[in-house]
Symmetry: C2
Subunit: 257 residues, 2 copies
């Protein structure tokens, strides 16, 4: 095995160049290969000496194995994810492939380079809705049974967490998000704020604040990050726009306790 190969699992941030860390940019400049889901690989500028390997959405493990094998051959491989690689992205897939794969891969020089996650970018656009204790769930039932999603939603509501949801609504299973909204309405009440942040930090960005009572499944698509407030989350009408934040502290007599 070459000593010069490496594998960096790189977070590209939510979309804008202005949100890519210098550490990530530098890794992309040094890489011989960029590996990832097609639209993310296309965010890496082409240049001589760089091969871009785009693959389909459902190919995470095969893609991770390909990346590890190339690094073992001495190549400098950037596995790219949107947002942060550790949040519902390629980080876990690479380590899954590492654990199950060639023993020699464990000697590779591997680094994870964090990025601004979609959740943090969406939260920033709205104010500070995750400003106190929160949880973050992937609502896709490709990856776990629906019963577990529902259980987690109910426990998160009981804990009075603010919540952030990735993958709220897949094309193949649109009914899942309608069920999630019904569970949340029952557990948190109709008045609770819900936020839809679509394609944040891209030209298609849009955000909307409403209540669980007014929310409909069509407000989310595959590019939407959804957030639900805790019982203490506040909406503030600004002169031009509305802000949403969750206070830093819970009074001893707070609704949450």
């Amino acid at each position: 095995m070459s000593n010069t190969g490496w594998l960096k699992i790189v977070g590209l941030g939510p979309g804008s160049e202005a949100l890519i860390t210098p550490e990530a940019s530098s890794a992309l400049e040094q890489a011989t290969d960029a590996v990832g889901y097609v639209p993310y690989v296309e965010r890496v500028a082409p240049r001589p000496g760089l091969t871009r390997h785009g693959s389909d959405n459902r190919e995470e493990i095969r893609r991770a194995e390909q990346a590890l094998a190339m690094a073992a051959e001495g190549r400098r491989v950037a596995v790219v994810s949107s947002g942060d690689p550790g949040v519902f992205a390629m980080g876990a897939a690479v380590f899954e492939a590492l654990e199950a794969g060639e023993p020699a891969w464990r000697a590779l020089d591997i680094q994870v380079l964090p990025g601004v996650s979609a959740m943090l970018a969406a939260s920033a656009r709205l104010g500070a809705p995750l400003g106190h204790d929160f949880c973050c769930l992937n609502l896709s039932d490709n990856l776990k049974p629906w019963a577990l999603i529902e259980k987690r939603l109910r426990l998160a509501a009981e804990a009075d967490f603010a919540m952030a949801f990735y993958n709220p609504r897949s094309r193949s299973r649109p009914e899942g998000f309608a069920r999630a909204l019904a569970v949340l309405r029952e557990a948190c009440g109709e008045a609770r704020p819900i936020m839809f942040a679509r394609a944040v930090a891209t030209p298609e960005e849009s955000v909307r604040v409403t209540t669980l009572g007014e929310a409909t499944p069509e407000m989310a698509d595959m590019r939407t990050l959804v957030m639900v407030g805790s019982s203490l989350t506040r909406r503030i009408a600004g002169a031009q726009r509305e802000w949403v934040y969750t206070p830093r502290s819970v009074p001893s007599s707070g609704a949450a306790s």
Copy 2:
């Protein structure tokens, strides 16, 4: 009120220059004033035309009011936080001050610039321990009653979330973290992985992986981000080091369901 003043709530990332976004750097270059907790304000390089206003840790609301008042006077104000401003940082404090303060402040040009949070940086150093559903709690009982912290820990364990903890151990109340460890041991078992990531992305960085059974309160201090795995979290022995990750999927027969 001047039209040219603004307030940007800026995430400086966990410590290293290489993790500050270009958007944040650009805001700091344009600001006339940087406002924040002393060690964070000191991370903004001094230059002519910039006044740095450092204040104490417990001064968040007064600091936020000062920043809003300066922006209302037409100054370009950067309120700086370590990590991301929306996660247990100045974002919520500024919106709290905005809601309670001068009505004219609501017309100000306010933006939140997200950053790489300590949680994401710590997770990256360890592999991908937050690679599936997780929650994030502030363990400081300055801000909420201990009973609520304990309730949230028990519900998070029941939901089988991976967990990230900010402020695990304050100088004034060191016993809180010992109680949290006892609750987690009871709810998750002695074998569950726990990770201590101290001062990540600074020269003092150190990380340690152990189990709840082996963990002691002294392993954390005020600069430590603590993470606990879910029931599915895996430890992989590498050639030089250990990785920790939480798989992306939960089998239908998984321990979590």
